[in-house]
């Protein structure tokens, strides 16, 4: 009861703080800035908050909070635009939205998908805030119950979603996930810093590949290239069906799914260390498992949009718990948020264990500012969705060069390095091949995202458990098999069994016809070769280092899977599903342009950047693409190019970024932005 008596007045104080016109004004300002930034893939809360930081110093705390929270809260809302309209996962929070959102856009249902997503986001945000209002008071002991074995188990549960998304040939999905995990282990190991698949002579890979690059490469590039080859608009029909009201109605019809996914979002968000990387996949998996007719998933099932979108905004609320109560940021943007709070006012807000005791009113203000920002952001987004959805009717050849520009810029955010573009191109090529031969790309991405936590938690749990077992057998068992672990274990097993049984009917990437044997086999052999080399590479790490165990284990499992696939390919006729090949039937095979010429355009941008630096290369690329491929007149192409470059420079100037230099810049000293 004591708790309630302290909480209620604090809640009242919080609302009194929030409901001042000037605070609401700052909140709306933050929301609008957040929407503008979140629309661009790869630019999330980190970029936005960094923009605001210089203004935070000495600012009135509640105004600063309103501004920052407004910005952070709406990023997972606005990145839905890129996911649904372009098939580009805007941030880790909206990867799963792509799976059904983008097919809906292709079917001309963009506005409906968007408004269903926004309604879910809004609702998720509100459910999250309500849940937190109560939960935050008792959160500390609950969060501390999640030790390393529990974290490992949640990671494994996340990985078990591969079962649902594995596609028609389950082993292919598992190998895809394993390949993702192996690619995730590239670079310095977390344990003793041993290098996997990289060398200090070639420093780029030692830091590993960033999620932005892998997400864009694996999802966005294949879709863009494919659409470009077909030379049409994103939406197949010119008439856009499904207005925004339909989307809201869809959401309301699935309100209980939305409730459940919101709760999943808050709970996973609350646990420090996992952040947003698993939550949308778990929500998507849940949406699939609770839907009777699973045949539409992957080709535009609205429940596949509602699930992840309900969870990702709720997760932001949940993420406040580790941030505010423990002073441990749940994500990159939260880390900056903590830093910025210290700059506010005279620094009287101290994030950490004392927050609840000393600043409960501020804590509640933060929780409900977040919810309020969600409301404002959603209303703006829904209002805009009908208009923005029209983008899907524009001829894609006009849109694509600018998408390449934005994707390249997003990729630079990770390392500000030409190698970012090379990595994007390489992963993009892998994505194209995986799409062509019907290897599950979601499974690959889940593997990549969870590779790092899976390895770290497995190593740590093992090490701590060993120490516990030395003290006594009972103590070790208690540590590993806590009640939470057992419950999670049961859920995981059920989910895998059910998932595998259903996976055949879930065509996350649409139906793909089989064709000849040669191309699919060649791709499989290349994948097998890479995995074998990764195994060899990991095995060459000295045996006392923990950094070798995880990649070796994953590689061995994958090689087994590859062996099974190779045998199956040898035994079965070429009509078997294992030989799926998109170039044989369907849109890709009938495309106006070939794969290689289309890819060459992007390669040209890459090579030109290496020679001339990004801005000059971009100018040449945009102009010649618009002139030659899109067939614009000289004047139009010049105008389009100029506006593209101007836009890019404005963004870079605002975010204080340089563009990667090329060979030319080695010899000539050029003024910004050409440097």
């Amino acid at each position: 009861m004591d708790v309630i008596f302290t909480a209620l007045p604090a809640l009242g104080d919080a609302w009194a703080l929030i409901l001042q016109p000037v605070v609401l004004g700052y909140l709306i300002l933050g929301v609008i800035m957040g929407l503008c930034i979140g629309v661009f893939p790869g630019l999330g809360g980190i970029a936005g908050l960094s923009l605001l930081l210089p203004f935070m110093f000495g600012m009135d705390p509640i105004l600063g909070l309103a501004l920052m929270i407004g910005m952070v809260a709406v990023v997972p809302t606005s990145d839905t635009f890129a996911s649904v309209l372009m098939g580009i996962p805007g941030s880790s929070a909206s990867q799963a939205t792509v799976l059904d959102g983008f097919p809906m856009a292709k079917n001309g249902q963009a506005a409906r998908a968007l408004s269903a997503a926004f309604a879910s986001s809004l609702f998720g945000g509100l459910v999250g805030a309500s849940f937190l209002t109560v939960f935050i008071l008792v959160a500390r002991p609950v969060v501390l119950e999640f030790r390393t074995p529990e974290l490992l188990m949640i990671t494994i549960f996340g990985l078990s979603m591969v079962g649902i998304l594995a596609g028609r040939v389950a082993i292919k999905g598992i190998v895809a996930a394993g390949l993702g995990m192996l690619i995730g282990t590239i670079g310095e190991g977390a344990s003793s810093g041993d290098l996997r698949m990289s060398s200090y002579d070639f420093p780029y890979l030692t830091d590993g590949l960033k999620l932005v690059i892998v997400g864009l490469g694996i999802f966005a590039i294949p879709e863009i290239i494919s659409l470009l080859r077909q030379d049409r608009a994103i939406a197949k029909e010119q008439a856009l069906g499904g207005g925004w009201l339909d989307g809201v109605r869809d959401w309301f019809a699935n309100i209980w799914l939305s409730v459940r996914c919101s709760i999943i979002g808050v709970i996973v968000g609350v646990i420090p260390g996992l952040g947003g990387s698993v939550v949308d996949w778990i929500a998507y998996g849940h949406a699939v498992q609770t839907t009777k007719d699973k045949s539409k998933f992957g080709s535009g099932e609205v429940r596949g949009v509602i699930g992840p979108e309900s969870s990702n905004n709720a997760k932001e609320g949940g993420g406040l718990v580790p941030t505010l109560l423990f002073g441990i940021p749940g994500s990159g943007s939260m880390a900056i948020f903590i830093g910025a709070i210290a700059l506010l006012g005279s620094g009287q807000i101290e994030v950490g264990p004392a927050m609840l005791k000393n600043n409960l009113d501020i804590t509640y203000s933060i929780v409900w500012l977040l919810a309020l920002a969600n409301v404002v952001g959603t209303v703006i987004c829904i209002a805009a969705s009908g208009g923005i959805a029209k983008l899907t009717t524009i001829r894609f050849a006009l849109l694509a060069p600018f998408l390449f520009m934005i994707i390249a810029f997003a990729a630079f955010q990770s390392g500000q390095n030409l190698m970012d573009l090379v990595a994007l191109f390489a992963i993009g090529f892998l994505g194209i091949m995986m799409r062509r031969f019907d290897w599950s790309r979601p499974a690959f991405l889940i593997g990549f995202v969870l590779s790092n936590p899976a390895e770290t938690y497995a190593n740590q749990a093992l090490q701590i458990a060993q120490s516990r077992f030395r003290k006594g057998f009972g103590e070790g068992i208690d540590y590993i098999f806590s009640p939470i672990v057992i419950v999670l274990l049961i859920i995981t097993v059920i989910s895998v069994v059910v998932g595998l049984r259903q996976a055949k009917s879930i065509l996350a990437e649409g139906d793909v016809k089989s064709g000849s044997k040669r191309a699919p086999l060649a791709f499989l052999l290349i994948v097998t070769g890479y995995i074998a080399y990764a195994l060899f590479d990991a095995a060459s790490i000295p045996s006392f280092s923990r950094d070798r165990t995880f990649p070796m284990f994953v590689a061995c499992v994958c090689l087994l899977g590859c062996a099974v696939l190779i045998i199956r390919m040898m035994l079965k006729p070429e009509t078997d599903t294992v030989f799926a090949d998109r170039e044989r039937h369907g849109d890709d095979s009938e495309a106006t342009h070939g794969l290689w010429p289309t890819l060459a355009w992007f390669a040209a941008l890459l090579v030109l950047t290496a020679l001339l630096g990004f801005i000059l290369a971009l100018g040449l690329f945009l102009f010649s693409f618009l002139r030659i491929r899109a067939g614009l007149s000289n004047v139009a192409a010049v105008i389009y190019t100029a506006s593209g470059i101007a836009f890019m420079c404005a963004m870079a100037w605002l975010l204080n970024r340089d563009f990667p230099p090329g060979l030319l810049q080695e010899y000539a000293d050029l003024p910004w932005p050409l440097t």
């Binding site: 110093f57 344990s191 002073g327 990159g332 005791k357 390895e455 190593n459 090490q463």
Partner: protein, 368 residues
């Protein structure tokens, strides 16, 4: 003490006066540089989310006000390869007009000291204008702390300790070596992302020994100490002007590692192990974060930046606004900063070799 305060205040007043007249001097005699209308880029070789980011974000607006011509100061993050990427980049830059500065950290110093093959930079080429120190505190759960008798830690020698670590070649080298010298068997669990995660591991009861830098200790551990779930064990101490380790001014009631070591059987405050620990402690804590101008910077530019940082320190509200973010530690400029740089980057060869050998033998870490 009061005399010291008065002289310091007088000195600060002088500096403030000097800064106030700087723009005029620029026109008159050419001492100092004018940065009006320019943008100063402050390179931080870490991501936006780390401790160096907080430090730079704290100083950037103050520096902007204090520099002649009030240039815009932007913090530019260049993470990669544990800060060696950004430092290597800075090494390649030559002095132009004083609009480029670099912020290094203990994580930049340690690879340099240990001869990491990725290091292509040399501190001797750079010009230090500010050095910020910090301290660190080790702490224990109450049941373990009860096994210490006063300063004597030998009661802990038979226990199994688990410590959440970021890596043996990082700042964690200092606590790991200290605990080993005390005869504790501490098993580091590697792979945590920051010291905050280490504290969380301690709070969850998985780790039973931990350390935090001073400001994190004040924010994150003091509440735990108050509710009885953590007990401070020792601080690493601070350096006095003569280079001796003395009690940390932020934690005057806490014994230093030196005191605990002296009281514990088997731990010695002399010899190569102690010298190695002390050398790396100095590199990692009292001279942890520094601001540099690039190779070839003019004396005018160095003077201008030194004066600007002195002016920041001389702000009436500096103690108030900095204590929460930087802790109560010396923010050194001029000769003091040069001294800190020297002690932080020039480690005796014997200490270096000892640590390299110890890392390889104890943790199998080779720096090749």
């Amino acid at each position: 003490m009061s005399l010291f305060k008065t002289t310091r205040r007088a000195a600060m007043g002088l500096v403030a006066a000097a800064v106030a007249t700087l723009p005029f001097q620029t026109q008159a005699g050419g001492h100092g540089i004018d940065l009006a209308g320019k943008t100063v880029e402050w390179i931080i070789p870490f991501s936006e989310t780390g401790g160096s980011a907080k430090w730079a974000n704290f100083y950037a607006p103050l520096l902007s006000e204090a520099l002649p011509g009030a240039p815009t100061v932007v913090v530019k993050f260049m993470p990669g390869a544990g800060s060696t990427k950004g430092a290597n980049f800075f090494q390649e830059q030559t002095y132009d007009d004083g609009t480029l500065i670099f912020g290094s950290s203990g994580s930049t110093q340690f690879p340099f000291l240990l001869g990491d093959p990725r290091v292509k930079y040399n501190y001797a080429d750079w010009n230090v204008v500010l050095a910020s120190g910090t301290g660190g505190v080790a702490y224990l759960p109450p049941d373990m702390a009860a096994k210490m008798s006063g300063l004597d830690a030998s009661g802990l020698q038979g226990e199994d300790f688990i410590y959440g670590s970021q890596g043996a070649t990082r700042l964690d080298l200092v606590p790991l070596l200290a605990w080993e010298m005390l005869g504790l068997s501490v098993e580091p669990v590697f792979g945590i992302k920051g010291r905050g995660d280490g504290r969380l591991m301690f709070e969850r009861g998985e780790a039973n020994i931990d350390y935090q830098t001073s400001s994190s200790y004040l924010k994150g551990v003091t509440p735990l100490v108050e509710d009885g779930s953590a007990v401070p064990m020792m601080s690493w101490g601070a350096l006095d002007d003569a280079g001796n380790i003395v009690r940390d001014p932020t934690f005057p009631d806490m014994p230093t590692f030196k005191e605990v070591c002296e009281a514990t059987a088997g731990c010695e405050t002399s010899g190569e192990k102690w010298e190695a620990w002390k050398a790396f402690f100095i590199a990692g804590f009292p001279a942890q974060k520094m601001v540099f101008l690039p190779n070839g910077a003019s004396a005018d530019a160095i003077a201008t930046y030194t004066a600007a940082f002195e002016a920041v320190k001389a702000r009436a509200d500096f103690a108030e606004i900095s204590s929460g973010r930087l802790g109560v530690y010396p923010q050194m400029t001029g000769d003091e900063a040069k001294g800190a740089l020297k002690s932080g980057t020039e480690v005796p060869q014997a200490a270096k070799e000892f640590v390299v050998g110890w890392l390889e033998e104890r943790y199998g870490v080779t720096l090749k």
